[in-house]
Amino acid sequence: MQAFTEHRGIVAPLDRPNVDTDAIIPKQYLKSIKRSGFGPNAFDDWRYLDAGAPDIKNSMRRLNPEFILNQPPYDRATILLARENFGCGSSREHAVWALTDFGFRAVIAPSFADIFFNNSFKNGLLPIALDAATIDGLFARVKQEQGLEFTVDLASQRVIVGDETYRFEIDAFKKHCLLNGLDDIGLTLEHADQIKAYEQQRRLQAPWLF
């Protein structure tokens, strides 16, 4: 997994609540058996004026000029500013793969859906929750100063916007894994003996589970 330490980049404001994973990556692209290549179809229904499919070349399609990520400099944005309940809906990790493939490294919102939140960490995408009033203020600023850049510093848990800094909370364990780009499975397998011991004892208690 790609480690996350500090990141500075352009912030794109996506001003709507409940952005669901169907919107982030529509189902027709979930047929892929790969992890990469979802970026061109991130927010597909909003981004293009005509319908898309895995066998249609995106370069042949008409971009929706109204959609924020089609407007320079936001087409180069690496931080997404969003509203509450971001990433709700299905468990598809493809949503995270689409965002990272587009180039996003962090999403800042008042709240995230749980599964999306977890999936993000597994792919080096940092979801940052800040209170709704702060987010309101950030939207106002970002809309005022086109191309405004934020700096996200994971070690000190801060978002830096010009002279202002905003602290965010994060689980110590998730932070450690992200800072070091650690592979969860490898970490868990270091405890293989403990897992086996648990299984042995559980088998005695509840043999019908085995």
């Binding site: 409940n18 669901d20 047929k31 229904d45 990790e93 999936n119 364990f173």
Partner: protein, 471 residues
């Protein structure tokens, strides 16, 4: 000992170890797998040279991409076909049980787990699918996971988890005639919102929940995710145990007796404390229909489409305006005057035998309205389909002009050939009304099977109660 919630008990029973910050390594008893969220996980295993930790915990089934029409010719769409075949070969390579497309037991993953007795009380159940919450109806801790977590469970039988907060949604009293589990759940989501349960595990309780069949409880838990909660659950009682007996994967005889004894503990202690408690008055719930593009945008059948100008929260009002524009509706329009183009009865929310019976009861002796271009019933599994056919339900649907299909996810998410065209309005028993969910530009209204059946035969939304009392 201090009083514990059902969630506490399930959690405690599965903790293998805990990190300093409270992150737990949680043991997983049952891992359900389908074709869409697993290929990259298997690929990861292969690349790391890892093997599944416990092959007997896995049950795999293709459901999202499978055609619901005659399957003998295989899958026409090459991309879908490759994904389903990839699941087949992965299951062979890693030695996992799979009900493939030709197996009569094939169906939607959340229908077949309980149907086979593969979902049991006291289990942790995971699947790379958000509606895994369905299985919580059995007093299990069941939640959806992403593909990286699918790989993690395959390789280690465990997941890294932070404990959620606990929430009790108590539906008190009795519902009136014609009000089903789906209406209860839509009403709950309307009340607490789609983020109402975020960060929480919800236990559903109260008389109205206790009175539900297992099918009904599954419908409720299924949509816990639409209320923002990763897991929903219902305490074990005689209804639960009655359902499990004699299922192929369930314990039998002596072992069942032992299991039942331990399952009796699977309820929240009387004085257990929840982080959040919500009470809903069952008697006040009317049949529900969603009008917008989020499940919380829901109204009673006798209400009207709400007006964004009356909403004080500007973010919400804006969301409502976008939803109304997308749905082609105007504020103030009575819900029961909205006409529909298509009707879909199916999905892991409402495709079990009880759902089909409820819909057939309304349809019997009636015809699909002329303006409805397609009304389809997609049973949740091959076994549900067979049972319905034995009861003659297929004939009721066919005579009324419905299509009777093969089991799968179908138009719930339109990954196969079943979908809405832009602008088409659909009465759907599924769980998500997001933009484009059932096809780009398609407009989805969520409702119960009986209400969907009523919409099919009248051509618009109508209180099913009017049709049932007539007959």
């Amino acid at each position: 000992m201090t009083a514990r919630t059902l969630y506490d008990k399930l959690w405690d029973d599965h903790v293998v170890r805990t990190e300093a910050d409270g992150t737990a390594l949680l043991y997983i008893d049952r891992h359900l797998v389908h074709e869409v969220t697993s290929p990259q996980a298997f690929e990861g295993l292969r690349m790391a040279g890892r093997k599944p930790w416990r092959t007997d915990s896995v049950l795999a089934v293709p459901d999202h991409n499978v055609p619901t029409t005659d399957r003998r010719a295989g899958i026409a769409d090459p991309v879908s076909r490759l994904q389903v075949e990839t699941l087949d070969t992965n299951c062979v390579e890693f030695g996992l049980t799979e009900f493939d497309m030709s197996d009569v037991r094939q169906g939607i993953v959340h229908v077949i787990g309980p149907e086979q007795g593969a979902t049991l009380p006291g289990m942790t159940v995971v699947c790379g699918d958000s509606h895994t919450s369905t299985h919580g109806a059995f007093g299990a801790l069941a939640f959806g996971i992403g593909t990286s977590e699918v790989e993690h469970v395959l390789a280690t039988q465990c997941l890294l988890q932070k404990k959620s907060k606990s929430m009790l949604v108590s539906v008190d009293g009795r519902v009136s005639n014609g009000v089903t589990a789906k209406d209860i759940m839509l009403a709950i989501i309307g009340e607490i919102g789609t983020a109402g349960g975020t960060g929480h595990a919800i236990e559903f309780g109260g008389d109205a929940i206790r009175a539900l069949s297992m099918e009904g409880r599954m419908t409720v838990c299924n949509m816990a995710i639409e209320a923002g909660a990763r897991a929903g659950m219902v305490a074990v009682d005689a209804t639960t145990i009655g359902y499990i007996k004699n299922r192929p994967y369930a314990p039998q005889g002596e072992m069942l007796a032992r299991a039942i004894e331990s399952w009796q503990q699977l309820h929240s202690d009387a004085d257990a404390i929840f982080d959040k408690v919500v009470h809903i008055d069952a008697a006040a719930i009317k049949p529900q229909v969603t009008w917008g593009t989020s499940p919380e945008m829901v109204a009673a059948i006798d209400a009207a489409v709400p007006d964004p100008e009356q909403e004080h929260d500007h973010v919400k009002a804006d969301g409502m305006r976008k939803a109304l524009a997308y749905m082609g509706l105007t504020a103030g329009e009575p819900i029961n005057q909205i006409a529909v183009d298509k009707v879909f009865i199916g999905s892991c929310t409402n495709s079990r035998i009880e759902d089909l019976r409820a819909a057939a009861h309304v349809v019997k002796g009636r015809k699909v309205a002329d303006r409805v271009s397609l009304a389809m019933v997609v049973p949740g599994s091959g076994l549900v389909k067979r049972q319905a056919e034995e009861e003659g339900l297929d004939q009721i649907f066919l005579q009324a002009g419905f299509e009777w299909r093969e089991p799968g996810c179908s138009m719930c998410l339109a990954m196969n050939a079943d979908r809405l065209e832009a602008g088409e309005r659909c009465a759907s028993t599924s769980n998500r009304n997001f933009e484009g969910r059932q096809g780009q530009g398609g407009r989805t209204h969520l409702l119960s099977p009986a209400m969907a059946a009523a919409a099919a035969v009248t051509g618009h939304f109508v209180d099913v109660h009017e049709l049932i009392t007539e007959s």
